[in-house]
């Protein structure tokens, strides 16, 4: 059984149909990159998988470890092992990162039948994982994302991922707005979290990130459909030619079917 199976997914946001039949299968341990021009539906796909209210699925199916992911609340998806690293992490003044993460982790652990961590064990986990993603421990004690720089916010997302230990991590434009040093740190954090059990979907507009997080598969999303699929070399082609040449492409799957029929 695949870890994640997306079949013919259609979704609307604010009355506009954004996803128009996405098919994607992700197995444990794989890293999939999704690229595409602005407005192609990349971020929508990421948010639909995480269960953002207001994102309406009109057709299709998503199975996560064989279960109907779309029937789950956002918190249930997280507890089951889905993690979304936000493109725009939200600032929550008045709630410390540590308090927030301890509550989140214990909700996840409880769901998985694990004992809750006490303050001591949690703080040693924080120390260890903070080192892994090179995030300043002081940052971890501050209110969630408040006053963080763009790079700090993205690093905090990866730090949260390191703490919550998801089975499927979706990184939504984690590279956007990062300078090359910040990008390197974030990417090395992500790479250190690659395991044979954990799959990742890396959503990005630019090929640059994929120099650091090398995907096993790459999918190109245009106008709500995957129009091209390949390995990491496809990224270089996109870098060279841009997206325009793909915009008239038929969907990848339909194209394959047409080829077979021909």
């Amino acid at each position: 059984m695949a870890l994640l199976e997306i079949r013919n997914l259609h979704a609307r946001v604010g009355g506009n149909e954004i996803l128009r039949g996405v098919d994607l299968t992700v197995d444990a341990g794989e890293v999939h990159a999704i690229m595409g021009p602005n407005g192609s539906g990349k971020s929508t796909l990421a948010h639909v998988l995480a269960g953002r209210p207001g994102y309406e699925v009109t057709d299709g199916q998503v199975l996560f470890r064989g279960q109907d992911l779309l029937a789950m609340t956002p918190e249930m998806r997280a507890r089951e092992g889905v993690f979304l690293a936000f493109q725009y992490p939200v600032e929550i003044p008045g709630v410390s990162n540590v308090y927030f993460l301890k509550n989140a982790l214990n909700a996840v652990r409880k769901h998985r039948g694990l004992p809750e961590l006490d303050a001591f064990d949690f703080l040693s986990l924080v120390k260890e994982r903070a080192k892994l993603v090179e995030i300043d421990e002081e940052l971890v004690k501050r209110p969630v994302n408040e006053g963080f720089s763009g790079g700090e916010k993205k690093r905090n997302e990866i730090f949260q991922m390191a703490i919550l230990d998801p089975t499927l991590a979706i990184l939504d434009e984690t590279d956007s707005g990062l300078d090359i040093d910040a990008l390197r740190i974030v990417a090395s954090g992500v790479n250190s979290l690659r395991t044979p059990e954990r799959a990742m979907i890396v959503v990005t507009h630019y090929q640059r990130l994929l120099n650091y997080i090398v995907p096993d598969f790459l999918h190109v999303l245009v106008e709500g459909r995957i129009v091209r699929e390949g390995g990491k070399e496809l990224a270089l082609e996109l870098e060279e030619k841009g997206y325009a040449w793909l915009e008239k492409e038929p969907p990848a799957k339909a194209g394959a079917a047409a080829l077979t029929a021909g």
Binding site: A78, F83, F86, I92, P93, F100, N103, A104, Q160, L164
Partner: protein
């Protein structure tokens, strides 16, 4: 057809009880305060929604109720548990408007600190009381006048000059109606003498489900260089009608901080009037009101910058759920003489239900030209993006909501310096909300 309202139920009992007051035992100057209060009350009557300061707060349904003064004789124990641990400091308890010595611990106070019943203080310390009483709350509303008309007992606190009182002083006002709706008019006087420092917590509470009326006036004087941290916890019963005026005069380089926490009552109206009476006077007014059900919580504050170099900081936050209504009216006056005034006022409100309502009205009257005055006000709902962010990390919907509400109020709560009060408010923030566990 509706009859034309003549005397309200309360006006009838007021007239009768005012006549019955035993004036023979009181000094002449107290009699004068009471008579002036009654005259002014009779002239003005209860405010109606036609008056600007009461346009959102209709007291008519409450003043129909014939509240009566509680009998002087009562059971010797209070049925309501006191909300805060007394701690090592002085605690003075007033039940139904009268000092309850058996519940108070004011016996062994050090450093000349005085905490006493106002009735006793009028009898034993008339020199100190006469010079101050009714001079600070001098132009209050009709309810404050009514309080003066029934001036009899309450709390007197004097913090001697250059004394630092380490433990917070607790003033507790308990209403326990015995035979039907009860009214009390506690009157309090706090004198923080020059260079003194203290913290006071004033708590109002009473029997749940019973209609009663608390009509309190607290007058506070900060002499030069005094520092006072004054908290008011309004936690009346759910059927209570609470009206209170806190009038403060802040002296030269003195520093007044208030924390006004409104949680209870069917209708609670808090008037906080602070006059920065001398150069370099400083005040910080923090407020938090948490409404639920059909509660109406009304906060009127007035900061009167009368002299130069005064600083005021004000932050009030409202959280309204159910069909509750909140009102914040914040007036700042900067008198012609009050150059170099620095005033900042912020009111933020969070509506948790579609039927909750809040009115936020800043009012600045500036008559000096070299001043810095800023104000801001917001009304909003819970941030959907933040909700999703928390839930996407595995935190359940109710808990996410509680976290955000807590976060919204946390800056006001965290400023409360009296730890047990701060903890109570923090607990309350979690408890009051749907799904909030203990």
């Amino acid at each position: 057809m509706e009859a034309v309202a003549e005397d309200t139920g309360l006006e009838r009992t007021i007239a009768a009880e005012y006549r019955e007051q035993r004036a023979d035992r009181e000094p002449g100057w107290v009699g004068r305060i009471r008579r002036t209060g009654m005259e002014r009350f009779r002239e003005a009557g209860f405010p109606t929604v036609r008056e600007e300061a009461w346009k959102y707060t209709n007291v008519a349904p409450f003043v129909k109720i014939p509240y009566q003064a509680a009998p002087r004789e009562r059971e010797t124990f209070a049925r309501s548990p006191l909300p805060l641990p007394a701690g090592a400091g002085a605690q003075i308890v007033v039940v139904n408007g009268r000092y309850a010595p058996e519940l108070s611990s004011v016996g062994l106070l050090t450093g000349g600190l005085e905490v006493a019943s106002l009735a006793d203080a009028i009898a034993t310390r008339p020199d100190v009381i006469e010079a101050r009483l009714a001079t600070i709350a001098r132009d209050g509303n009709a309810f404050a006048d009514l309080n003066s008309a029934f001036l009899e007992d309450g709390v007197f606190v004097r913090i001697p000059a250059s004394t630092v009182v380490a433990e917070p002083i607790h003033m507790v006002f308990l209403s326990e109606p015995v035979f039907g709706p009860t009214v009390s008019h506690p009157r309090n006087l706090v004198i923080a003498e020059a260079g003194s420092q203290a913290a006071i917590v004033e708590t109002f509470l009473g029997t749940a489900g019973e209609p009663y009326f608390t009509n309190a006036v607290t007058e506070i004087v900060l002499e030069d260089g005094a520092i006072l941290d004054f908290s008011k916890l309004e936690r009346e019963g759910d059927a209570a009608f609470h009206v209170a005026t806190t009038a403060v005069s802040v002296g030269r380089n003195a520093n007044f901080t208030s924390h006004s926490i409104s949680l209870g009552g069917a209708l609670a109206r808090n008037d906080l009037n602070v006059r920065l009476d001398a150069e370099g006077a400083d005040c910080t007014l923090n407020g938090l009101f948490l409404g639920n059900g059909r509660q109406l919580l009304d906060n009127h504050t007035l900061i009167d910058h009368a002299r130069p170099h005064g600083t005021s900081r004000e932050l009030y936050k409202g959280i309204l759920d159910g069909k509750s209504r909140g009102i914040f009216h914040g007036k700042i006056i900067v008198r012609p003489d009050a150059q170099k005034t620095d005033a900042m006022q912020t009111n933020k409100n969070l509506l948790l239900s579609r039927e909750a309502l809040v009115n936020s009205e800043p009012a600045l009257e500036i008559f000096a030209d070299d001043v810095k005055c800023r104000h801001g006000s917001t009304i909003g709902q819970l941030d959907a993006a933040a909700m999703f962010y928390l839930r996407s990390r595995g935190i359940g919907e109710d808990e996410a909501r509680n976290l955000l509400v807590y976060a919204f109020a946390s800056d006001v709560a965290s400023r409360i310096r009296v730890a047990p009060l701060r903890e109570l408010v923090e607990r309350q923030l979690g408890l009051r909300l749907p799904g909030g566990g203990a």
